[in-house]
């Protein structure tokens, strides 16, 4: 299946995004919704917020990984078909943020699943999330070329 991702590098991408909340405070999730509004309009880049991890290319994960969410995050990651990218959105999922050292979290996210792009901010601005998505697309292209 190598030729198809290479082909897409020249035609353009269609990143379908699945959003997982692993116990975040909802700020990052609101900012992700803001990305889809007319002001930022992520669909310009073909971004669609899909309903099932089976359809997804990119996982947007928010929140420090709560102990209750640990299994779910791993399962959703395994349910996503290859090639896939994981974006850690917000300070919590990137670094544990204010929850660092808490007894009930298993984060940060890169302890649990491989993370490709980190979007820092508490919450990150919508522009920043979009920039993260574009970075993930660039990484997908680089993967197709065999550069990574």
């Amino acid at each position: 299946m190598a030729p198809i991702p290479k082909l897409l590098k020249y035609l353009g991408r269609s990143p379908w995004i699945y959003h997982i909340n692993t116990g975040s405070c909802n700020s990052c999730d609101i900012e992700i919704v803001a990305v889809l509004t007319p002001r930022y309009d992520a669909e310009r880049f073909g971004v669609v917020l899909v309903e099932s991890p089976r359809h997804a290319d990119i996982l947007l994960v928010t929140g420090p990984v709560c102990h209750q969410n640990l299994d779910r995050v791993k399962r959703v990651y395994e349910q996503t078909p290859d090639p896939k990218m994981v974006i850690a959105v917000g300070a919590c999922s990137s670094t544990n943020g204010v929850f660092d050292g808490s007894y009930c979290i298993d984060g940060p996210l890169d302890d649990v699943i491989p993370v490709d792009v980190y979007v820092i901010g508490c919450p990150p601005r919508p522009e920043n999330i979009l920039f993260g998505v574009v970075k993930a697309i660039q990484k997908l292209n680089a993967l197709a070329e065999g550069e990574i």
Binding site: M1, I4, P5, L7, L8, L11, G12, R13, S14, W16, P38, D41, E43, R44, F45, G46, V50, E51, S52, R54, H55, D57, Q79, P81, D82, P83
Partner: protein, 329 residues
Amino acid sequence: MLFEVKICLYLLGISLFYTGFLGFLFSGIDRKLVARMQGRVGPPIRQPFLDFIKLCGKEDIIPHDATAWLFKFAPVLALASVITVMLYIPVGFSPIFAYFGDLILILYLLTLTSLAIVIGASSSSSSLFAALGAQRELVMLISCKVPLAIIIFGLAWRINPLVDVPFSLLSFSQVNLWIMAGPLTFIGVAMLFFTFLCCITGELSAGPFDIAKAKTEIAGGTLVEYSGRSLATFKLAEAIKMIAISSLAVALFFPMPLSNIVGIDGLLGILLDCLFHILKIFLIIFVSISVVRTVMARLKITQAVRFYWFVLTPFALTGLIFIMIEYLV
């Protein structure tokens, strides 16, 4: 015999490419238009093609509990049934199997597409969301088909004395429904046409009738477990179904070709008719899908059934009675 099979395969291939191209083109235009109406920039028109190509290159996961052969077979069945429908419906030029099928066959084949989705989703993927979606798909199927059947049988009954074979789509190109009798017939046909437009929205589960695939309630419903090439096949089947059913509307209500009026024959005439047909299905898709999708939110399944059975069915019957009154009196 073998030669005929070969020709059939070629024709199926041509039908697949032409209608698949048109289907993705129109879903791209639809997405762009909806985005523009919402004040967004929207994806490029080629986006559905990119989605399709991308899905073809992705991993195709079969769930652990799924009945693997049925799970893989359902998308192929869906695609096969819509391609076969396209062999019977004129797309600007007369269809390849113009002298074989009739409207009832087309109705059956359109049903088969939804049934394929139900088979793939409910009986083989072992997902609860998919089972829920499949139930809703079946309910939508039952509710949509009643007014659709009334339209088709009513119109076939009306043109029966005027043509040889009333259930053939070619017969509808020989009569002009709108001006075959007085003003009451015109109103009746207009009412039936409006009903057909509503049925298109329901058949393609667009906008308010996006109940079986409700994103936010049942996580994608029927297609929740599909990925990779199987999902791509379903997307292609849905895109072609959009072309099939809007072409059916054109073939029933507006079959008039442009080449006769302008007076151009031959290959150029066929090309002109094709373009004119594309314009007609664009208008129908714009009215019955894009606009509806933009302005309306999703209904509940009970509301959808009530709309089709207790609003649209009496409406279609009234239109039919108008046509009957002028014909019989």
